[in-house]
């Protein structure tokens, strides 16, 4: 039986406390106010006092408003019907389409049994050489893009979404500017990818609590598709906003903060989301790409720091390009041995030479004289930056490897590259 209560005894931040009985932890309630109906979730029970976080915010809630407990946790509709649709963080359509209630599934399902996971082995091609060649993205990987405000991380995510060879793309936007939301929608639409996309959008002006739901709801839908054999790519932007929402609620609930005001369970909270990335044995997979903005470009800030410990590598997006140093795909070794025989050679050699180029740049800026070798490196570096690193480049992995050989042969003799003779004989352009 669903019971209603009208005795709200406390309203603080986005959390209300109501006197009620027999309420289950993390159950959902409906609050009817003058402004309409909002959902809320139980986050603490203390005797008769039940605290709920209100998805639509508490503005305008009266102490006498009606709270009706639904007796189940947060659920979301799943299935093919969702494709091409746009929802907010609590699953309400934003595209004037019908409300969906088919195949409801609980969000925040339990963790996958580690003994049922498989070792990832399939590359996801993106058409971006800095990813495909140097830090390959692997199916079921979880990878954040570390960046700062103003960098084109959303453009990068959208590009990967358009080009990645996956069945379904789920975009979870948290604290997005409204323009960014429109950008995602229009870009995916323009490339005809909208029909295999699902959006869960929380914009900066929406209530904080809804932001917290976006990753859960996106991943619950993704998991459902993956279990039915689909390869799903989930884009989450921006996870720093998610962490900030966690902080806001934690402070409202008077929790003891740990680092810079973030709650002590930030690591576990982020891990619970990122660890949803999985390759199911005999079914589909979930790959997670997230944007994490680093406040003050500081990688030791709690959000990027905790993220780095959880994810399988990271891409640094700096000055509009994916920085080759620091960027890392921990799973690349699983796939780059199987693409083409020269993949690893090109990857290692080009990065080593690029490192020497950076050293030469430093020497140059300090006014040291440039040797013949330095001149070669300078030429190489310029070619590498414009033909490989630039995000404008959009070529297949094989073309990128060929291009790599071309750049090397344009700048160096075979011996100078330090590549093994057998590989040189097979691949060096004549």
């Amino acid at each position: 039986m669903q019971k209603s209560y009208t005795n709200i005894i406390q309203i603080a931040g986005d959390v209300i406390t109501v006197e009620a009985e027999g309420v289950g932890y993390s159950d959902i309630a409906q609050i009817t106010t003058r402004r309409g109906v909002s959902l809320a979730q139980v986050i603490r029970i203390e005797g008769k006092k039940v605290s709920l976080q209100v998805f639509a915010g508490t503005r305008g809630i009266a102490t006498g408003d009606r709270v009706r407990f639904l007796g189940h946790p947060m659920r979301v509709a799943t299935g093919e019907e969702l494709l091409g649709r746009i929802f907010n963080g609590s699953g309400v359509p934003l595209d004037h389409g019908p409300l969906l209630s088919e195949g409801l599934t609980d969000i925040g399902s339990p963790s996958v049994n580690p003994s049922r996971r498989v070792v990832p082995s399939k590359i996801i091609r993106t058409g971006i050489p800095m990813i495909d060649v140097f830090n390959s993205l692997v199916e079921s990987q979880k990878l954040p893009i570390f960046s700062i405000a103003g960098e084109p991380y959303n453009e990068l995510l959208a590009r990967i979404a358009i080009q990645a060879e996956v069945d379904i793309i789920i975009v979870g936007g948290m604290g997005l500017k409204h323009d960014d939301y429109l950008f995602f929608r229009d870009t995916l639409n323009a490339h005809g990818a909208l029909s295999r996309c699902i959006f869960f959008m929380h914009t900066a002006s929406d209530p904080t609590v809804e932001c917290l739901l976006v990753p859960d709801i996106s991943l619950a839908v993704a998991e459902n598709f993956a279990l039915s054999g689909k390869r799903v790519l989930v884009l989450l932007t921006d996870m720093t906003n998610f962490a900030d929402s966690l902080k806001e609620i934690a402070i409202t609930m008077e929790q003891v903060p740990s680092n810079r005001g973030y709650p002590g369970d930030l690591y576990s909270q982020l891990a619970a989301r990122y660890e949803k990335a999985v390759d199911f044995e005999g079914a589909g997979s979930i790959t997670i790409l997230a944007a994490t903005t680093m406040p003050g470009d500081d990688v030791t800030h709690p959000v990027p720091d905790n993220t780095g410990y959880i994810t399988e590598g990271q891409f640094y997006l700096k000055s509009g390009v994916i920085e080759p140093f620091g960027s890392l795909s921990r799973l690349k070794q699983q796939v780059n041995g199987k693409t083409r025989a020269d993949h690893r050679t090109i990857m290692d050699t080009m990065i080593q030479l690029f490192a020497s180029y950076r050293e030469t740049l430093e020497k140059q800026s300090m006014g040291f004289q440039m040797s013949a070798w330095d001149q070669k490196l300078l030429k190489y570096g310029a070619l590498f930056e414009s033909n490989m690193m630039s995000l404008k480049v959009n070529i297949s992995l094989e073309k990128a490897l060929d291009l790599g050989w071309k750049i090397l042969s344009d700048c160096f003799t075979p011996e100078e590259t330090g590549i093994k003779l057998s590989v040189i004989q097979q691949f060096w352009p004549r």
């Binding site: 005797g47 339990p110 963790s111 996958v112 049994n113 070792v119 903060p257 690591y267 576990s268």
Partner: protein, 580 residues
């Protein structure tokens, strides 16, 4: 038997639940919360009046006030007996593969399976006869488990001297069939099965004495064994920022370390890494026993998205199993990755208990908990005269890679060796990324300490010169200093760094390390006939190239000898003989 004590849920705050209890409450006892069809395991962590505050080892979704709580009176315990080797458990000792068979892809809450399968029959051979005097931990008989004799021991909880009343003849028994009966001094009888229970948070004390760890544990990592050794029964920690290679290092040590049994506690880390160990170990051969590596390995796995409270107990589960095998006279290595996640689990709980926070909101008892965990390592002399050891290596993941934080600092106080990983070394692709300038060890390894001192001095001097060169440039550095710098770089490159992808170079035996170090020592103390910096650089670069090839040749092979000759030729070409 006392009546089953029950209580009612009155508060739910994430994974902390408070219950109102009518009767007595035992601190740290296990309780089950009945939630519909499910029974959720919990542990009492604080008692206030008639209220028991419990941490729940599962998601608390759907718990209501008034739900029944059943108290067991038992502390959180693990099952100890034959069949543990090769297994993979979660933090509460649930066997994960069996759980997967039962529940599919997901870890369904409230499902607890027996750690050791009941139906297994074990071939028991008695070692005592009626009338023999025994004590807790005495070997009563054994069963074969993989390559070991798994001794069946008198329960660790018994006290004083007991007399064997009866012992079963050799034959097949399952885990719960009694195989012996012991009579204590007061005359009461105790039945002994192949399996016994032990509470995880209490160390096993059934031994004669604890000894000083004196014997080196060879990990086959040159940097560790030669410069920062760890002894059997010792403790060490490896703190490092993310991406510095903590996990790769631990994985390689778990493969190559010269111990009998390795226990891997994957505590709050990525599931993918555990999967890699899981899927690769059965196919890898232990070079010492020629058996699959998994046969000597036990994995305790509570990855980051699994319930936090169980993460806290997983390191205790692991160390208890390690102590159990130590009691059989075996050398056990426990690798915990990462102890920071364990500390964070304590912090989460402490926050929910609304305890007064210490530094970075960690609880005030953080240090003592870390200390008492590492103190469970050690070499012990058993009452039978044999020795067994537990060595603990803990990975630490300091926030922001900053070693000043509380977990790293508390750990450094209690460990015997510190292997600090640095971002600079890992960015420069130097593997292992252990920074020799900040690391230390209190153990005496197989390299004489005066030789170790010389190498440390060389590395420090090399670093000083390299710092100086950054300011005054190569031109301003004297040739003597420059050669000193090249020597230190050379030593770092050909000895301290190892190629983790090279089947030979990834693990170096003690014998080879001694030989190689002696050879390099000769090079380092020799003055060479080098006229200028360019020729010095060229000389050391060619030497470096040859040494690298030498490192990839298997020890004692014709190729090994050929490479050695090439190097000697190059050394002699520079005129000056080695100083003896």
């Amino acid at each position: 038997m006392e009546n089953k004590r029950t209580g009612q849920v009155i508060k739910v705050n994430a994974n902390m639940v408070t219950a109102q209890v009518a009767g007595q409450i035992v601190q740290n006892e296990v309780a089950y919360i009945v939630c519909g069809q499910e029974r959720l395991k919990a542990e009492v962590i604080r008692v206030r009046g008639d209220q028991a505050e419990m941490q729940v080892y599962e998601s608390t979704q759907g718990l209501r006030t008034g739900d029944t709580v059943e108290f067991t009176g038992e502390l959180l315990s693990v099952e100890l007996g034959p069949g543990l080797l090769g297994q993979i458990f979660d933090g509460l000792q649930n066997p994960l593969p069996a759980l997967a068979e039962k529940c599919g892809f997901f870890l369904k809450r409230g499902v607890y399976l027996e750690a050791l399968p009941d139906e297994a029959q074990w071939d028991f051979t008695p070692l005592v006869k009626p009338g023999d005097k025994v004590m807790a931990g005495s070997w009563l008989g054994f069963v074969p488990e993989k390559i070991f004799r798994h001794y069946i021991m008198a329960p660790f909880a018994l006290s004083g001297t007991l007399e064997v009343e009866s012992i079963s003849p050799a034959g097949k028994y399952n885990l719960k069939q009694p195989v012996a009966r012991l009579r204590d001094s007061s005359g009461s009888l105790h039945e002994v099965c192949l399996q016994q229970l032990w509470p995880v948070k209490i160390p096993i004390f059934a031994y004669a004495e604890k000894l000083r760890p004196m014997e080196p544990l060879v990990t086959k990592m040159r940097l560790i064994d030669s410069l920062f050794p760890v002894n059997r029964g010792g403790t060490y920690c490896t703190p490092g920022p993310f991406g510095a290679g903590k996990t790769v290092l631990q994985q390689l040590i778990s493969r190559h370390a010269e111990v009998d049994i390795v226990i891997i506690a994957a505590c709050g880390e990525r599931a993918g890494e555990v999967v890699e160990t899981l899927k690769t170990f059965p196919g890898l051969t232990d070079p010492r026993t020629k058996k699959p590596l998994i046969d000597r390995t036990i994995i305790i796995c509570n990855t980051s998205s699994m319930p936090v409270a169980a993460r806290e107990s997983s390191v205790y589960t692991a160390v208890t199993i390690a102590e159990y095998y130590r009691q059989m006279g075996l050398n056990v290595l426990l690798l915990a990755d990462s102890t920071s996640r364990w500390a964070q689990a304590m912090r989460e709980m402490s926050g929910r208990l609304e305890e007064i926070p210490g530094e970075e909101a960690f609880p005030a008892y953080l240090e003592s908990r870390i200390a008492s965990f590492y103190e469970r390592a050690g070499v012990v002399r058993l009452r039978s005269g044999q020795t067994g050891s537990v060595t603990i290596g803990g990975a630490v993941s300091p926030a922001g890679g900053n070693f000043e934080e509380p977990v790293t600092q508390a750990t450094l106080k209690v460990v015997g060796a510190f292997h600090g990983l640095s971002r600079e070394r890992s960015d420069a692709r130097k593997y292992p990324a252990i920074d020799p300038l900040i690391s230390w060890s209190k153990y005496e390894g197989f390299v004489k300490s005066e030789n170790r001192e010389k190498l440390h001095a060389l590395l420090r001097r090399g670093n000083e010169i390299s710092q100086m060169m950054k300011v005054i440039g190569e031109e301003g550095t004297s040739l003597k200093d420059y050669i000193e710098y090249l020597k230190s770089e050379f030593f770092d490159f050909v000895y301290l760094q190892q190629n983790a992808f090279d089947p030979v170079d990834e693990a170096t035996t003690k014998e080879r390390q001694v030989y190689l170090l002696d050879f390099i020592g000769g090079i380092l103390k020799t003055d060479y006939d080098l006229q200028d910096k360019a020729s010095a650089l060229h000389f050391f670069q060619s030497l470096r190239q040859l040494m690298r090839t030498w490192n990839s040749a298997s020890y004692g092979s014709p190729e090994f000898k050929k490479n050695e000759e090439q190097i000697s030729t190059l050394l002699e070409s520079k005129g000056l003989k080695k100083e003896k």
